[in-house]
């Protein structure tokens, strides 16, 4: 077991990842664990920056190329494993990683936006310091974290609670997902292989 103080991942899982996606994938997983441990005691802006930078290093590919499907929402593990994904995969991976670092559902939202320049639908992660503050946008097109007021290239459509929208989508993809109002934290813990260690 790789033990980096706060976050850990089972060695058996790393082996399985190595077997499934190769050695590099294992290294990426270990890097994420290291990053989460480094960020765990940092202030929120630094945590946002660290997570955004980590995932933005992965390359963009369409679902059709990576998953042979028109619209597939990869889990964070799959995204790290294959090292490529589209905007939803970036947003979801960032969402769950920040959630693990302590961000709440009132702070981070998955936002559907229109990328005006590309005239395409797009997805970003919005961070609200307070419910009424201007959000910061974590995006994979513009890799810098900017307030929404500086993102004239994006037109917001609607924001969702990340857990709920992810679950709904997974159910749509045919995966067995807990119904309704179950304890979301437990469910999140269940799907994330990188876990908080028991001190």
């Amino acid at each position: 077991m790789l033990n980096a103080q706060e976050f850990v991942v089972e060695m058996s899982f790393l082996k399985a990842i190595e077997k499934e996606y190769g050695k590099d994938a294992k290294v990426r997983f270990e890097s994420l664990v290291t990053l989460l441990n480094e960020l765990s005691s940092e202030p929120k802006p630094k945590q946002l920056q660290g997570v955004n930078d980590f995932f933005n290093k992965l390359s963009f590919e369409t679902d059709m190329i990576v998953w042979r499907q028109k619209d597939y929402w990869a889990s964070r593990d799959e995204f790290i494993g294959v090292r490529s994904g589209d905007c939803e995969d970036y947003t979801i991976a960032k969402y769950f990683s920040l959630q693990q670092l302590g961000f709440t559902d009132d702070e981070i939202f998955i936002t559907y936006v229109k990328a005006i320049k590309y005239h395409q639908s797009h997805m970003v992660l919005s961070y609200f310091k307070t419910p009424s503050s201007v959000p910061l946008i974590l995006d994979n097109i513009n890799k810098k974290i900017l307030p929404s007021t500086r993102r004239r290239d994006l037109r917001p459509i609607f924001s969702f609670n990340g857990n709920k929208i992810y679950r709904a989508k997974q159910r749509g993809l045919g995966k067995v997902i807990p119904q309704g109002k179950v304890n979301l934290t437990k469910w999140t813990d269940l799907i994330l292989k990188i876990k908080k260690s028991k001190h």
């Binding site: 939202f109 919005s126 609200f128 419910p131 009424s132 201007v134 959000p135 929404s148 007021t149 993102r151 917001p156 459509i157 609607f158 924001s159 969702f160 609670n161 709920k164 119904q179 309704g180 109002k181």
Partner: protein, 647 residues
């Protein structure tokens, strides 16, 4: 508790428990599903409406549109409320419906609390959050759905449960059918019945058990049959004449001894005839043994046809035959003698040999009180000699010590009929009792009832005074009925069980049989052990089928039967069919068997042991007899020495 009941109870409990659990979890799943569905619907509504309101932006001019959209969605669905607040949770607009739930009983809502969660959605204006939308599905709708589902489930589970219980009951019955039969077989063994099961079963264990039980029952039955055969052979050797298969002189003497030592003396009605056949020896000498045998058998068959079954026919010697008349009046004997005369005439005519004419010299003598077997035989012999002295061509008889008939006898049958009517009408029938005692514990096994009739002068007379004529005019069954009635009336007052003697007339007449059956059925259960019914061996042998029916009726009513005057000389097979609780054998018979062949008594012990039958030795007249029988391990005794009959 019966195994069948235990099985059904256990399996029913298990089945009901499993079905209840399935019902509970099924219902709970349905409840959760409905809660989730209502929540999902609310969440979808929240998102849709949130998206729609977001499109309106933060323009206050749009407040009317906001309200309209909220109301439109609210009115088109089934919600408890849709609430819209700003980010500070200040209410902007709310549409709600009071909680009215029809068609769902209060108890259901009390027992099944529904927890519907509130769905939320943010409302944005551009990047900014401008409000929160709260949507909650209507509990009433959820309750209605849930209650409907509950009723459907209850009906389905009720039907399945009922069918399952019926199937379970049938299966248990089928499986246990064999076991119940084996149980019946085991119980039958304890009741001395030998039942062989032919039932087929698919349960291997039961099949093995059944085969084992059958084997065991067959063994017991074989032992019994073998002992019966041995007993019968010994008895035949001792008491039967090899040649004619008639009783021999030893048996006649035994019967006379029994009569003189009997409990209830009534000698008025008993006489013995000794027939000496002159000419038989000559036939043997001239025509040979086989001719002699044929003629003797013809005489025997002829006499047997003329006398009644209760009379005893004995071959005393090669040329002498004795008839012991039991309970007859004078005219009966006269009729019988007349009948015999015709028989002898026919036999003589049939011989067709002038030289071989047979002459039948008959001597008749009564059995007197304080008499003995020696005197009776001597008197009979003397009477025969007198007949020979007088001389006759075919048949003549001489009666010595002809007893004076009492006035009633001389009056004839019509007078007797009136006498009995009077006896019945004036309730002049009563009974005396005599105890049978178990020697080891000194406890009374039962008290046997003896008929007593109160005469005109108020004197209590023994049965012997009246019974021969009662037999002659067919009033014995009525007398038995009266005794039964009297005993049943007083049954509460008896400390010990009571034995009632029943005649063949009573048992064979369906009217009395049915009446007794009804009386016993109506008898309180606490008195079931208090009645024993005693029947005579000789009567049983005359009509076994009737007595089997009688024994079944008695057993059905939880009563007991016993065999009186047991000898087992003619047959003992009937005990297998009747399964009496006891047999009564006279002390004289026991003594004679002991002197004749002790093996008979041992065989009798084995037989009664197998059949769980008590041997009661009767006619115990002295301490000497009692002590001797005690030494032979007999336990139940009756007789004047034990207790005199008392009213």
């Amino acid at each position: 508790m019966k195994l069948q009941t235990l099985f059904i109870l256990s399996l029913s409990t298990l089945l009901i428990s499993i079905m209840s659990l399935i019902f509970y979890f099924n219902f709970k799943n349905t409840q959760t599903f409905i809660e989730n569905q209502v929540y999902s619907n609310a969440q979808n509504t929240a998102y849709s409406l949130g998206l729609s309101l977001s499109a309106l932006g933060q323009d206050t001019n749009n407040s009317v549109e906001q309200v309209l959209q909220i109301n439109a969605i609210f009115d088109s669905g089934y919600y408890e409320y849709i609430r819209f607040t700003d980010m500070n949770k200040t209410l902007i607009h709310e549409a709600s419906l009071p909680l009215v739930i029809k068609d769902v009983p209060e108890w259901f809502m009390y027992l099944v609390p529904l927890h519907l969660s509130e769905a939320q959605s943010e409302v944005n204006s551009d990047w900014l959050k401008v409000g929160i939308l709260y949507v909650k599905g209507h509990t009433g709708h959820a309750y209605y759905q849930l209650y409907k589902n509950f009723k459907d489930l209850a009906v389905i589970f009720g039907l399945i449960g009922f069918l399952a219980l019926v199937v379970l009951f049938i299966i248990v019955n089928v499986i246990l059918k064999t076991l119940i039969k084996i149980q019946g077989q085991a119980e039958a063994v304890s009741e001395n019945k030998f039942i062989i099961l032919k039932h087929h079963t698919f349960v291997i264990e039961f099949s093995t058990m059944m085969a084992t039980m059958n084997k065991m029952v067959t063994k017991i039955e074989n032992v019994f049959s073998s002992e019966v055969e041995t007993f019968q052979n010994y008895q035949n050797l001792l008491y039967k004449d090899d040649e004619s298969q008639l009783f021999n002189k030893r048996y006649l003497i035994l019967k006379l001894k029994e009569l003189f030592s009997g409990e209830d003396e009534h000698f008025l009605d008993r006489k013995m005839a000794l027939i000496s056949i002159a000419g038989l020896e000559e036939i043997k000498d001239r025509e040979g043994y086989f001719k002699y045998r044929d003629v003797f058998n013809e005489i025997k068959e002829g006499i047997l046809k003329e006398i009644k079954s209760q009379h005893l026919l004995v071959r005393v010697s090669d040329t002498e035959i004795a008839i012991l008349f039991d309970m007859v009046v004078d005219d009966t004997i006269e009729k019988t003698l007349n009948g015999l005369k015709h028989v002898f005439e026919r036999i003589n005519n049939g011989l067709q040999i002038d030289k071989d004419v047979l002459t039948f010299y008959t001597g008749i003598t009564p059995l007197l009180p304080a008499d003995n077997e020696g005197n009776v035989l001597s008197r009979a012999d003397y009477s025969v000699q007198q007949a020979k002295v007088r001389g006759c061509q075919l048949f003549c008889s001489v009666e010595t010590l002809k007893t004076a008939s009492n006035s009633l006898v001389s009056e004839g049958k019509e007078a007797w009929r009136k006498t009995f009517e009077e006896i019945f009408q004036n309730n002049r029938i009563t009974f005396a009792t005599q105890k049978v005692v178990e020697s080891k514990t000194a406890k009374t096994y039962h008290e046997e009832t003896f008929l007593r009739i109160i005469d005109h002068n108020g004197v209590v007379q023994t049965a012997g005074f009246y019974l021969p004529m009662a037999l002659s005019i067919h009033r014995v069954a009525k007398i038995d009925e009266t005794i039964v009635r009297l005993v049943l009336e007083k049954i509460e007052s008896f400390k010990n069980p009571v034995a009632i003697n029943l005649s063949s007339d009573f048992i064979e007449k369906s009217r009395y049989f049915e009446m007794l059956s009804e009386q016993l059925s109506a008898l309180d259960e606490k008195y079931h052990h208090k009645l024993h019914f005693e029947i005579k061996e000789n009567d049983i042998l005359q009509n076994l089928q009737n007595y089997i029916k009688f024994a079944e009726m008695i057993e059905k009513n939880s009563q007991t039967i016993g065999v009186d005057n047991f000898s087992g000389v003619e047959s003992i097979e009937y005990v297998k069919a009747l399964r009496p609780s006891y047999i009564k054998i006279s002390a004289s018979n026991v003594k004679d068997l002991e002197e004749g062949n002790k093996a008979i008594l041992k065989t009798l012990d084995v037989l009664t042991e197998i059949m769980d039958i008590k041997i009661i030795v009767t006619s115990i007249q002295s301490e000497e007899v009692y002590e001797r029988l005690l030494g032979q391990n007999y336990s139940y005794f009756q007789g004047h020495y034990i207790e005199e009959p008392k009213l």
